[in-house]
């Protein structure tokens, strides 16, 4: 394509003006732009959208799993009466790995995706802010939905507003407990005992017997009822003989 010098003759100028006015009328009557005029228009999101993360403090067992699994390193554990997570939304990629890895269901997702913050500092959402859902201020007058086919890409605008009640998606969690798969490989290093935040693994000294005969002095490790299934011991075990097992 060649760049040509625009003709400045009055007839050409007039023709261009007519073109522009025609386009303006066309857009006013049947608009075909595909950008969304946010916040006056709001896109309709899928139902299972991963959004704002909510914390139920009473369920949190401070196992640090969410902080360890976070691929964006957005979760920090802060100390209140115990360690609780806080999410830095400047980093969060809304993958909800933290929600899925949470062993007790203390973290849950919501369908709230449009978040506005006044400053970068505010985007570091504190634990106390995570415990309640944020207030919703709506300015949208239209809902927009994309329709994408092979041939066209168009928007459908509807006057009706989408219902924006924020749903907490409560994950289904079965209680789990630490379990030793292969006690014969236990080093006896007691690392599991030391890492356990709930003192659920206890040790007692005993005499070790093999087929009724005392073979030496040893210890018994016990996983007690206190175990909440955080999996810290599973991660710590140097022989990787511990797992989490569902309990009925």
């Amino acid at each position: 394509m060649k760049v040509e010098k625009i003709s400045r003759s009055p007839i050409a100028e007039l023709k261009r003006h007519v073109d522009v006015i025609q386009e303006a009328f066309k857009q006013a009557l049947i608009p075909d732009r595909i950008t969304i005029e946010y916040p006056r228009e709001r896109r309709k999101y899928p139902d299972n959208l991963r959004g704002f993360i909510v914390l139920d403090k009473s369920k949190c067992i401070s196992c640090f799993r969410c902080a360890q699994i976070c691929p964006a390193n957005a979760i920090q554990m802060g100390f209140y009466d115990n360690f609780y997570p806080s999410v830095d939304y400047t980093k969060c990629i809304f993958c909800h790995f933290c929600v899925e890895s949470c062993p007790t269901g203390a973290l849950s997702g919501s369908n709230l995706h449009d978040m506005a913050f006044k400053s970068l500092e505010d985007m570091k959402v504190k634990t106390t802010q995570m415990m309640r859902l944020p207030t919703i201020i709506r300015e949208d007058k239209q809902t927009v939905e994309y329709f994408v086919t092979k041939r066209e890409w168009r928007l459908v605008r509807r006057k009706e507003l989408e219902d924006l009640s924020v749903l907490r998606i409560i994950p289904k969690i079965k209680p789990k407990r630490a379990f030793c798969e292969e006690p014969e490989s236990c080093l006896g290093c007691r690392q599991c005992m030391e890492v356990c935040p709930h003192d659920a693994i206890v040790m007692e000294r005993c005499e070790v017997t093999l087929e009724g005969e005392v073979v030496g002095k040893g210890c018994i490790l016990k996983v007690t009822e206190k175990c909440v299934g955080c999996g810290l011991c599973v991660r710590q075990c140097p022989m990787k003989i511990l797992t989490l097992k569902e309990v009925e």
């Binding site: 236990c186 040893g218 210890c219 490790l221 996983v223 022989m239």
Partner: protein, 346 residues
Amino acid sequence: MQEWQFVVPEKKHKKKFFGNLKTEVIDAKLCCHCAACAAICPVYGITAGDKPIDFPNWVKDCVDCGACIKVCPRWEYKPLNGIGNYVEAISAKSRRFRGQDGAMVSEITATALEMGLVEKAIFVSRDEDWRTKVITIREPSQLYDRKVTGTKYCYADSIPALKEAILSSKAVAFVGTPCMVSAVRKMQKSFKKFERVKLVIGLFCTENFYHHQLSEFLLKHKGVDLMKATKTDIKKGKFIVRFIDGSRISFPVKELEEIIPSGCKVCQDFSAIESDVSVGSVGSESGFSTVLVRTEIAKAIVDKIKEKGTAEIKEPDLGAVQKLCDYKIKIHPYPPKKKEEKGEKG
């Protein structure tokens, strides 16, 4: 509620277990540098590498579990000697691989991998400077690398790599010196997970060296640089170094006496008695390896090699192997004669 029990070994001194190990094995100059303790240590505090085994700051960091003592082949040391039990002895040369002599370690490993008996094997490779480097073999094709095959007369941390390997796979092969083989057997006895080590290939061994001491010795006394070497060998009491340009030097192993680590000086196990299969050059003609098959799994592999014809097979001269076994007992007496501090050992 679930419970399980484990034995805690008895202490000989009123210290933490690593303190016991240090007094009884390391300071008593019995340590063979197999690095089994470094592998098993749950807090990864024990350090190996090209220096004596140590645990910096053990008084504070040792968790006193006793795992290191359970796996140490030199704790309550009873030296093994002789040629040991074997079901078959052959002298063979691989048709596929090129190695130290007959490349039978590579051949056996490759066959085990092909048969699906093991998923991976822990081998020792080297860098340009002949420093040992532990690598994992997953494909027989990796064994064509001449850096992987061939003997390195330096310590390598194979057992720590072996432990990582058994955590991630169900069947592992291992190649090591007799002391490492003993350590692996001791680990298998104490901890069930090590039963995943399916194949243990032992190497004929008289002594091993620290890399820095060996390279320094060669540079200082012989004026040669290991960097330019392509092969090191011990044959008929001579240490031989071959170079890229085809030249070679050889001198009696006796000259290396001053740098032989103390742990090797009490070892009498020449033929890796506790291994599944022992391989070495002694007892075979040049270019062939002697293979002592000791267990069922090794027998199956050697039968497969014979069936496929991937190796040339000859009759070995076991008299030579026996002679070296006896020689090792003679040069490495236990308890050592001159050291009076060993008197207290029971």
